[in-house]
């Protein structure tokens, strides 16, 4: 905005600057102050020439030094702020080795063992989550400490790289709070990811002395490698009382459904190796086993498969002849052939994920990353995030005793389903496996969904890959249902000042048997609607709604007065539609309640010369839109038009005073994925005294404008949602050789 605010702008917005919250007004105010200060500065130089030259130079130098200094300081004040990330300024730079040491007395309390009967409504304190706004739980992380026993021997490694990443991810997320009193969930910084790196009793004691431990209520522990030799429990052995456990490798015996969260065992290879996505389709090997250290019995079974099916099965083991080194974990061998791991997984359609002593295996993550369909052979294993992920779509679970049948089981799967699974496997890895951050956030989301179920993420959002989410349509009116005729419809007439024509429309429409209410939207702010006594007397209630502004979108506002589901939008000059025609339109709407049902149809075409969409009102064999000068539709679309119209379409329509009908056609087609229904032969709205409308329709500029609308809307929607069809709806006996008086809708009107 310029300082000199033109009178034109003022005219268009006479109310501007009366409202202090108006952004534009604020800018104007700032501008005024700046102008004033400029004026004041003009006086400065006039002061100086009167002094002696020597002094003048002296003063000028002094002044400039001060000015320069001020500028420099100012720069320093504002400039560095943006460069220095808040992390460095706000967070201490310390070493893990410098964290405070806590000595645990040998007799400090130990929590109870985990309670297997825990559920959210028994062991979880939801009251703590009462403060949390926006249906989002708040998570607090305890400060890192180093725990030692009476003799100064550490209880565990202070923190692993992954657990540090995990806590960082939580801390950076929206879930995080540093206010312990507002937290709903507490995450100890005591690292229990791997049970083998810690001393069980002392770790438990360390947990028990946390400031808000309270029997572990609302505490969340992350563990990926539970159990230890010889029996390898499937859940963390550290006594933890009521704490929730996000564990990798749960079995049905230890998993508390709806309380614990089953998480993946993170594979560090995910970060090291970049496997580019490989498209689905047949691969070199049908089945591959790449795990090392398998039990000999399993290995025998797998090798038997290889003997039986030859080339298509590949069983790999660790390489014995390679020189020892860090790289050996990245190599696999079959006889003397050496393969790169995990790259070799991309060569296979199916990959065996067999349980070891533990049920959860990090290889699952590698397999998914390679887009290989995991064949999970681990009885009673609770697959990662099984509460929300549909593993049937991405994996094959085979009972251990069926291992010898694996090949035939896999072969019975149709190729198309296999490709679907390959895509799904890769998507699961990308969304929920690929980083510690992904694992942590998915875990918190699951817990969040339990606490705020009404705001929970749906099955589709968890499971559908982005491509499917984009392509699919979920019709808001999906239930096949024919509403009863008795409900009737509400006619909404948008009018400005054509009272005479309006009254004729009201009289005509009131003859339609199924009309249940008439709503006149009075869009003229300068004129009052006629007095009550002047309105036509009709058999149904007639209501007049006055609008605050003359906007086209007022026609599609979800007025409280609309009580029926069916709405007939009708212009105040549409008097040519017969009662039979309107009644039949309503009957058709009942059979297609999720569509726009209208009279004249229009079409969109791709203009190959101009390379853009074109609006077509010629009488063609196809239809993709109906005019809303008279159209039936479900009142829910009024809600969508007013509150959920994508982008700036609604304002655009109001500003251009055109194309509200095209916008409605786009909206309905986009949300339902269905075409409009054109009823009866009617091709145009022609009325005796308003030839101007038709003249306008034919007007070249009008057509150009309508085409522009289509192109604008298609770009906002990001797609062309309109569907082209070649049919229209007529009464069953329309133009049949049949006595007219026996027809239900004899008077169907003409073009």
């Amino acid at each position: 905005m310029s300082c000199a605010s033109g009178p034109g702008g003022g005219l268009r917005h006479p109310l501007r600057c009366r409202e202090p919250w108006d952004e534009e007004c604020e800018k104007e105010a700032v501008c005024v102050i700046m102008c004033a200060s400029v004026k004041y500065n003009i006086r400065g130089p006039a002061l100086i020439p009167r002094m002696k030259t020597k002094h003048r130079i002296y003063y000028i130098t002094l002044f400039s030094i001060v000015l320069l200094g001020l500028i420099a300081t100012g720069m320093f004040q504002f400039w560095p702020h943006s460069i220095e990330s808040s992390n460095d300024w706000n967070v201490e730079k310390r070493s893990v080795r410098d964290v405070p040491v806590v000595r645990l007395p040998a007799d400090s309390p130990i929590p109870e063992r985990g309670d297997l009967s825990c559920r959210m409504h028994t062991c979880f304190d939801v009251y703590r989550c009462g403060f949390n706004p926006k249906n989002k739980i708040k998570v607090y992380i305890y400060a890192l400490k180093k725990y030692v026993d009476d003799f100064g021997v550490p209880v565990s490694n202070t923190i692993s790289r992954e657990y540090n990443e995990l806590l960082t991810a939580i801390s950076d997320s929206d879930y995080y709070t540093d206010d312990i009193n507002r937290a709903c969930l507490f995450v100890p910084s005591i690292d229990v990811l791997n049970q083998n790196t810690l001393r069980i009793k002392e770790t438990a004691q360390a947990l028990a002395q946390l400031s808000r431990w309270d029997r572990g209520t609302n505490h969340l522990l992350f563990n990926m490698l539970p159990g230890g030799p010889p029996d390898y429990n499937t859940a963390l052995d550290v006594p933890r009382d009521r704490a929730l456990l996000a564990g990798g490798g749960f079995s049905t015996w230890t998993y508390r459904q709806g309380y614990d969260v089953s998480i993946p065992v993170y594979s560090p290879l995910s970060a090291e190796v970049d496997l580019p996505e490989k498209g689905p389709g047949p691969r070199r090997y049908f089945l591959i086993s790449s795990q090392v250290g398998l039990h000999p019995e399993y290995r025998e079974d797998l090798e038997a498969l290889q003997v039986k099916h030859g080339e298509s099965v590949l069983v790999l083991d660790k390489c014995t002849n390679l020189s020892e080194g860090g790289l050996s974990i990245r190599k696999r061998c079959h006889k003397h052939q050496v393969f790169d791991y995990p790259q070799v997984l991309q060569e296979a359609t199916f990959c065996v994920v067999l349980r070891g002593a533990r049920l959860g295996q990090a290889i699952l993550s590698d397999v998914l990353q390679a887009g290989c369909v995991p064949v999970v052979i681990a009885d009673s294993y609770i697959l990662p995030f099984s509460e929300v992920l549909d593993w049937k779509r991405a994996s094959v679970v085979v009972p251990e005793e069926k291992m010898s049948d694996v090949y035939s089981i896999l072969q019975s799967i149709p190729q198309r389903q296999i490709e679907e699974m390959q895509r799904q496997a890769r998507w699961f890895w990308e969304a929920y496996f690929q980083s510690i951050k992904a694992i942590a956030l998915a875990t918190l989301q699951i817990i969040n969904d339990r606490i705020y179920p009404y705001a929970a993420i749906s099955y589709e959002e968890w499971n559908d890959p982005p491509a499917v989410k984009w392509g699919s349509v979920s019709n808001p009116l999906f239930l096949p249902l024919i509403p009863p005729q008795s409900q009737g419809f509400t006619a909404i007439v948008l009018t400005y000042d054509r009272v005479e024509s309006l009254f004729r429309v009201i009289t005509e429409v009131s003859k339609v048997p199924s009309l249940s209410k008439l709503l006149v939207v009075w869009n003229n702010q300068n004129k009052n609607p006629p007095e009550d006594s002047l309105w036509p007397k009709i058999r149904v209630p007639l209501k007049v709604v006055r609008t605050a502004e003359n906007k086209l979108s007022n026609r599609f506002f979800p007025y409280d007065e609309i009580e029926t589901e069916a709405v007939l939008a009708i212009d105040d000059d549409i008097i040519m539609l017969t009662s039979d025609e309107l009644q039949f339109g309503y009957e058709v709407w009942r059979e297609f309640p999720d569509r726009l049902v209208g009279y004249p149809g229009r079409l969109h075409l791709w203009d190959h010369e101009m390379n853009k969409w074109k609006y077509e009102s010629e009488w063609t064999n196809e239809v993709s839109m109906v005019l809303t000068g008279a159209a039936f539709y479900h009142k829910y679309f009024n809600y969508l038009y007013t509150y959920k119209m994508p982008g700036d379409i609604k304002n655009w329509v109001d500003a251009h005073m055109n194309c509200e009908d095209i916008a409605m056609n786009f909206l309905v087609a986009n949300v339902t994925g269905k075409a409009v229904i054109k009823v009866t032969p009617r091709k145009k709205f022609k009325c005796p005294e308003c030839t101007a409308i038709d003249g306008l329709s034919l007007d070249q500029t009008h057509m150009v404008e309508r085409s522009e609308c289509i192109n604008k809307f298609a770009s906002v929607f990001g797609t062309m949602p309109l569907k082209v069809v070649e049919h229209r709806a007529d009464p069953v006996l329309y133009k049949d050789d049949f006595p007219e008086k026996l027809k239900s809708f004899p008077n169907i009107g003409s073009l």
């Binding site: 559920r119 490698l225 009673s380 179920p453 032969p681 070649e726 049919h727 239900s744």
Partner: protein, 675 residues
């Protein structure tokens, strides 16, 4: 003096500026010099450790050998699917169920369950050939509890069915048997092994069942937000506007003016609040579903029915009873889109799985069959969107886009080609003209002739560009709807040898079908009506202003309906169709209407031929007039379905310029209008 004053003011300005400079600069320098301290108020966050890169990984490569302990099944107290069910018995025929006969007088419910299993495709009479043995745990009223059956085998592959929560004291150990129980407690329920059933009232119908109560998609304006349960088994609506805790005992003392409709059997509100314990809560849950009232369950301690396959988050809200204010606020603020979706889902689930005993039993068996099938089980989409898993057979396909119902959700389109299936009954003239007409369609992919009469096969067939296959040897009328493997397209144009169609008619009808792939698109129609005089259903093929059936002697429909016709209809119904051939049309229309809950679609048909109708189907000898199937047929089929699924339509889909007074040259389907 003046200059002094000026100089003084100048000096003053200068020193003030210096002071400012020193203050600002000094502050900045101070901030640099002092160690950085977190600003109060800003979240502190997890520290970025200087040595984060040096930290060790949680799992070391050296640990791998440790993992290689012996394969020893994890031990546990109870069963799971992999350990306690032997699927090897189910190979071949899939799920076959044997039901132990009752050892004494049986109750009405028990009788209904037996009947519904015996009528299903899963049933077998031989316990040896069965892969699932089903034991009905008797009702409490009869007082008698079952003893250990003969083939018990520690309960392996057994399913103990209890429609009412634990009526019997445990007379024998369940061992490895699965339990299908009405609303089991969460603590005893074994996910993936047991089956949670709904709590059925005593008078639940065997078949059909009451349809959902929902009349419209969106809630009526002014409808109460919340319905609460009453002590004596009814419902009352609550005014949520004023009272913050309508279900709280303290608020009960002051019943507001909004609390009306006491004692309704079915609730009339947007949400139904269900708290308390089973079985009361479970039976109210079912009432709410039927009424289209979104169930809001407060910390249920029981497992929701069929939770293994049904995604209840789409139809109900499970909330914590300890946060009543938040729950109420969430309900009040819930977006219209969500309310709309939840409401519709309650109705779909009620109609698909709960409205009759038969549906509940079949759903139970379908759940177990899905476990046996493994990868070829129903995908979640098939369970959770209309028409539901009982009507979308996973034996047909596991890819949703193969079915006619899920194109929108899948973002796919039905195929652009069709197969013509021409049934040649007596007298057995090769339908040469018809073949030419159909082969002329640009959308036709293949023609199949089903030779179904005594005459020998003609040796020569007309030369067409279309591949022509002749299938021989079937005499039964129901074989018209057999899922022949030679049919390779989604769309089938079912024809009778005596039908007469023009290429233009075929083309237009097929284009219409592509918009409605789940419906039947036909040329000739008939209707059903309620005959007051006879107290039964009537049938008419007269031309009227509405219709509810299209004749399958000339109709487009999806290939899937052949599979459904052959594999899901009870045998008795298919026999009925074979015995009274004119019934086969009615039966197919019933089936499609029951699945889609929509009427068929009629497209225009040439005028003069309409009088000399070619609509005879089956039956020996040519007839001058179409023979209406006995009204009996409609009644018999309606009885077998348990309800009347047919719906009437009052419209016909015509080409956009059909019979319009515009130039014929403009019209794409101009030959449709030729007199």
């Amino acid at each position: 003096m003046q200059s002094w004053r000026r100089r003084k003011s100048l000096w003053l300005a200068l020193s003030a500026s210096w002071l400012l400079l020193v203050l600002l600069g000094g502050f900045s320098l101070l901030r640099l010099a002092l160690p950085p301290r977190p600003r109060p108020g800003a979240p502190q966050g997890w520290p970025r450790w200087l040595d984060a890169e040096l930290l060790q990984s949680f799992s070391q490569a050296g640990e791998l050998p440790e993992d290689a302990a012996s394969p020893q099944a994890p031990h546990g107290g109870s069963c799971n699917w992999g350990a306690c069910f032997d699927t090897s018995k189910c190979r071949g025929d899939g799920l076959k169920v044997f039901v132990y006969p009752a050892s004494g007088p049986i109750s009405e419910t028990h009788h209904r369950i037996l009947a519904s299993i015996e009528g299903s495709r899963f049933h077998t009479f031989s316990p040896a050939g069965a892969c699932l043995l089903l034991l009905l745990s008797l009702d409490a009223q009869t007082g008698e509890c079952s003893s250990m059956p003969l083939q018990w085998n520690r309960g392996r592959n057994h399913l103990v069915l209890r429609l009412h929560p634990a009526p019997c004291p445990k007379t024998f150990q369940l061992g490895q048997a699965m339990v299908a129980e009405a609303s089991p407690t969460v603590d005893s329920f074994r996910p993936g092994f047991d089956v949670a059933l709904p709590f059925l009232p005593e008078a639940h119908p065997l078949r059909g069942g009451a349809p959902g109560q929902l009349q419209q998609h969106s809630p009526q304006p002014g409808i109460a937000l919340l319905a609460l349960e009453e002590e004596r088994g009814g419902w009352r609506t609550a005014d949520t506007g004023s009272s913050a805790c309508p279900w709280d005992a303290r608020c009960e003392q002051d019943p507001g003016p909004g609390q009306t409709q006491r004692g309704e059997t079915l609730p009339n509100a947007t949400f139904c609040l269900i708290s308390g314990h089973r079985p009361e809560a479970a039976s109210r849950f079912l009432q709410a579903l039927q009424a289209g009232c979104i169930p809001v369950l407060l910390s249920p301690r029981w497992e929701l029915p069929f939770s293994e396959v049904i995604d209840w988050t789409k139809a109900a809200i499970v909330a914590d009873e300890r946060l009543p204010l938040q729950v109420l606020a969430a309900l009040q603020e819930m977006s219209p889109a969500r309310v709309l979706a939840l409401r519709q889902q309650t109705q779909f689930l009620w109609d698909a799985y709960f409205s009759s005993v038969e549906k509940v039993i079949h759903t139970t068996l379908e759940v177990i069959q899905d476990r046996i099938f493994g990868t070829s089980a129903h995908p979640s989409l098939l369970w959770n969107s209309p028409p539901g898993a009982l009507l979308a057979l996973s034996t047909f396909s596991t890819s949703p886009q193969d079915f006619p119902f899920y194109h929108l959700q899948q973002g796919s389109r039905p195929e652009g080609r069709f197969s013509a299936l021409i049934w040649v009954g007596p007298p057995g003239q090769p339908p040469l003209k018809l073949i030419q007409a159909v082969a002329g369609s640009q959308h036709c992919a293949q023609i199949l002739v089903l030779w179904s009469n005594e005459r020998p096969l003609p040796s020569s067939w007309p030369e067409t560009a279309m591949p022509l296959t002749v299938i021989d040897g079937h005499r039964k009328v129901s074989d018209r709807f057999f899922p022949y493997s030679t049919i390779r397209t989604d769309a089938i144009l079912s024809l009778d040898a005596r039908s007469s169609l023009s290429t233009s008619e075929v083309d237009f009808a097929f284009v219409v079908w592509q918009s409605f792939p789940e419906r039947m698109v036909g040329f000739l129609t008939s209707s059903h009506f309620w005959d007051e005089a006879h107290g039964g259903w009537g049938y008419t093929a007269e031309r009227t202003n509405e219709f509810s059936m299209v004749l399958t002697t000339a109709a487009f429909y999806h290939r899937y309906y052949h599979t459904l016709f052959t594999h899901s209809l009870p045998k008795a119904l298919r026999t009925l169709a074979d015995e009274a051939p004119t019934c086969v049309d009615v039966l197919m229309n019933f089936l499609v209407a029951a699945v889609t809950k929509l009427p068929p679609i009629k497209v225009p048909y040439g005028k003069q031929r309409q009088e000399a109708a070619p609509l005879a189907s089956g039956g020996p000898g040519p007839r001058p007039k179409p023979q209406a199937p006995a009204p009996n047929c409609v009644n018999q089929i309606a009885a077998a379905f348990g309800h009347m699924p047919l719906l009437s339509s009052r419209l016909r889909l015509d080409p956009v310029l059909f019979k319009d007074p515009v130039s014929v040259q403009r019209k794409k389907y101009r030959s449709l209008e030729k007199p």
